[in-house]
C-alpha cells in the first residue's frame, strides 16, 4: 500500500475500526486497513476526523498537506523519537570548528560533499544513459560541465563553494533537460517555480513536494531533527535536513518519473490546465491521479542497493540513506555514501 494520496476536494477522511475510509459526495472512495498505510498526503481540501488525527499520531504515520496543485504546506507529526543520541550528534556537527574562520566541522563538510556529489553524479549518469540510448542528442558539453563540477568537490572546504558547485552542475543538467523530453508538445526552457508556468515544471515541482514528504518521514523515523541541515541553511520552518538528503534522490526518483510519464505518453498536454493571469500550470484531477500512481509505483520498484548489496525499494532506500547518515554522525562508519546509481 504505502502512501495514501487524497486528491478529491471536500472529501472526509474517517476511521472505521482499524481502517481508514475516505468518502466524498456520499460515496466511499477508499477503505484501507491502517496497518497498510505508512503515510497520508492530502492535496487540496479535506476534512480529517479527530479520530483519524489521533490514530495517525499514535501509529506514527505522517500526514502532509499540499495545495491542490501540489505545493507543500506543512504536516502533522507525531512526537519525534527519543533518539537524543542521533540528534546530539547532528547538532554537534553543525558547530563550526572556529568562530572567526567560519570553518564548518569535518562531519558537516563530509555530508555536504556527499549530498552534492550524489546529486551531481546521478545527474551525470542519467545524461550518460540518455546519450548512449540516443546518440543523436547533444549532451556531451553538459556532461563535461557536470564532470568539472564533480571533480573538485572532495577538495572543496567551504559549504558556500560546494553550493556553488551544486548550482553550476544543476544549471548544466537543466540546460539540456529539454533534450531528454521526446514529445513535441512538451517544452522545457528552464526551471521555474512558485508557481510553475509550464507542464514540465509543474510535474517537477509536484514530484519534489511528494519526495519531500517521504524523505522527511524517513529522517524523522531515524531520530533526526529535520529542521537542522548542513547544505540548506537554517530558515524558519524549513526542514533543511530533509532537503539535504533529498538532493541525491531528485534525479533518481522525480526526474525519472517526469521524463517517463511524458515520453511514454502517460500524460498528454490535455492533462494540464493553466490559471488565467498568473499562468500557473497544474494537472487536471485525472492527470494528478495518473501522476500519483506513477510516483507510488516508482517508490515500490526495486533495485540493488550499491552499498548494502541487497534488494530494496526506493521507499526503503530513503530510510536506509537516513540510517547511513546517522551511522556516520554517530561514528559507527567512516563515511556517508550517497546513493549513486549507474
Amino acid at each position: 500500500m504505502g502512501t495514501l494520496y487524497i486528491t478529491q476536494d471536500d472529501s472526509f477522511i474517517g476511521k472505521t475500526d482499524e481502517r481508514l475510509t475516505v468518502r466524498a459526495n456520499k460515496q466511499t472512495l477508499l477503505d484501507v486497513p491502517l496497518i497498510k498505510v505508512d503515510g497520508v498526503v492530502v492535496l487540496g481540501r479535506a476534512t480529517v476526523s479527530p479520530a483519524v488525527v489521533m490514530e495517525l499520531l499514535e501509529r506514527r504515520i505522517a500526514l502532509s498537506f499540499l495545495t491542490s496543485t501540489g505545493r507543500y504546506l506543512g504536516r502533522l507529526e507525531p512526537e519525534l523519537t527519543k533518539n537524543i543520541f542521533v540528534r546530539s550528534a547532528q547538532w554537534k556537527a553543525t558547530l563550526a570548528v572556529s568562530a572567526e574562520q567560519h570553518a564548518p566541522s569535518e562531519a558537516a563538510l563530509h555530508l555536504v560533499r556527499g549530498f552534492v556529489r550524489g546529486k551531481l553524479k546521478n545527474y551525470r549518469n542519467s545524461l550518460l544513459r540518455a546519450q548512449r540510448e540516443f546518440p543523436e542528442l547533444q549532451l556531451q558539453s553538459a556532461i563535461t560541465q557536470l564532470e568539472q563540477a564533480i571533480d573538485p568537490i572532495d577538495r572543496t572546504n567551504t559549504i558556500d563553494s560546494l553550493r556553488g558547485l551544486e548550482g553550476s552542475g544543476s544549471a548544466a543538467y537543466f540546460g539540456c533537460f529539454n533534450q531528454l523530453i521526446r514529445v513535441k508538445a512538451f517544452q522545457f526552457a528552464g526551471r521555474n517555480r512558485r508557481p510553475p508556468t509550464d507542464p514540465v515544471n509543474a510535474l517537477l515541482s509536484l514530484g519534489y513536494a511528494l519526495l519531500r514528504h517521504d524523505v522527511q518521514s524517513a529522517v524523522n523515523l531515524v531520530g533526526f531533527d529535520p529542521y537542522l541541515g548542513y547544505l540548506h541553511t537554517q530558515r524558519y520552518g524549513r526542514p533543511s535536513l530533509a532537503l539535504d538528503l533529498m538532493e541525491e534522490f531528485r534525479p533518481l526518483v522525480v526526474d525519472a518519473i517526469v521524463l517517463s510519464a511524458i515520453n511514454r505518453r502517460s500524460l498528454s498536454p490535455e492533462a494540464f490546465v493553466a490559471e488565467p493571469l498568473s499562468g500557473a500550470v497544474s494537472l487536471t484531477s485525472e492527470g494528478l491521479r495518473t501522476f500519483l500512481r506513477l510516483y507510488e509505483q516508482k517508490k515500490q520498484s526495486q533495485f540493488k542497493h550499491p552499498v548494502l548489496q541487497t534488494q530494496c525499494t526506493y521507499q526503503e532506500s530513503f530510510e536506509i540513506q537516513a540510517r547511513l547518515m546517522s551511522k556516520y554522525l554517530m561514528g559507527e562508519t567512516e563515511k556517508y555514501p550517497p546513493l549513486v546509481l549507474k
Binding site: 527519543k82 533518539n83 543520541f85 553524479k121 549518469n125 550499491p306 552499498v307 551511522k327 549513486v340
Partner: protein
C-alpha cells in the same frame, strides 16, 4: 539513570542477547514490533490473566498456587519488572517465564528467571532454588537451576546494564547469527560499517 530509577528486568535478557539491541530498546525507545515480538505479546496477553488458586493442569499438583502478572522489585539490585507467572508450593514461591518458540542457544532467558528469583527472594525473605522456563512451541517447562554461577553472571549483567542506562554509551553493533530474526535489524544494519568501508563510489 537517575536516583530512584530501577532497571527493567527485561533489559537484562536483551543485554545478554545483544548489548547493542539493549541500547536501542532501552536508551532510544526505537522498539519495533516484528512477528516475533507480536506473537510474544499475544502469548503474554494469554499468560497475564490473574488467576488465584487454580491447580495447574500440567502437573496436577493440588497444592500449587498460581498468580499471574505480578510486579517484582528488588531494592538491593535496583530491579523492576513483571513476572509472567509465579507459583507457590508449600509456601515457597518460584518464577515461571513464558517464551515463544524453543529454547535458544543463549542463556539470556535463564538470566531473566534468575533476576526474577533475586526479586522474589528479597520480597518473600525465602530462598528460591529453582525457576522455570516454559517454551510455547515445545510446550515444555524447563527447570532453571539458580546456581551460584548463574547468580554471579546475572549480577554482572545487572552491573553492565546499570552502566549502559547511566551513560547511554552505545555498544557497537556486531553481526552474528543472532541477528537473524532480530526485530531491530533494519534499524541497526549490523553489516553496514564493513560494507561502507568496502564500498567504492562510481567515479
Amino acid at each position: 539513570m537517575a536516583e530512584g530509577e530501577y532497571i527493567p528486568i527485561a533489559a537484562l535478557n536483551q543485554y545478554a542477547y545483544c548489548p547493542h539491541r539493549c541500547w536501542r530498546m532501552f536508551c532510544l525507545g526505537g522498539f519495533v514490533e516484528n512477528q516475533y515480538t507480536i506473537e510474544g505479546t499475544s502469548l503474554h496477553d494469554r499468560v497475564h490473566t490473574v488467576e488465584k488458586g487454580q491447580p495447574i493442569g500440567e502437573e496436577q499438583q493440588e497444592e500449587t498456587w498460581q498468580v499471574r502478572a505480578v510486579w517484582l522489585k528488588s531494592e538491593r539490585y535496583r530491579l523492576i519488572g513483571k513476572s509472567d507467572l509465579l507459583e507457590a508450593q508449600d509456601g515457597r514461591w518460584y518464577p515461571v517465564e513464558y517464551k515463544r518458540g524453543q529454547r535458544g542457544d543463549f542463556e539470556n532467558d535463564e538470566l531473566q528467571v534468575c533476576a526474577q528469583a533475586l526479586c522474589l527472594e528479597e520480597m518473600t525473605g525465602q530462598p528460591v532454588t529453582t525457576g522455570y522456563l516454559y517454551y510455547a512451541q515445545s510446550h515444555q517447562r524447563q527447570p532453571v537451576e539458580l546456581s551460584a554461577d548463574l547468580r554471579q553472571r546475572t549480577i554482572e549483567t545487572i552491573a553492565a546494564v546499570t552502566d549502559l542506562l547511566e551513560t547511554g554509551r552505545m555498544p557497537p553493533a556486531v553481526y552474528s547469527s543472532r541477528c537473524q530474526g532480530c526485530s531491530l535489524y533494519s534499524q541497526c544494519l549490523p553489516k553496514a560499517a564493513v560494507k561502507v568501508s568496502r564500498y567504492r563510489e562510481v567515479e
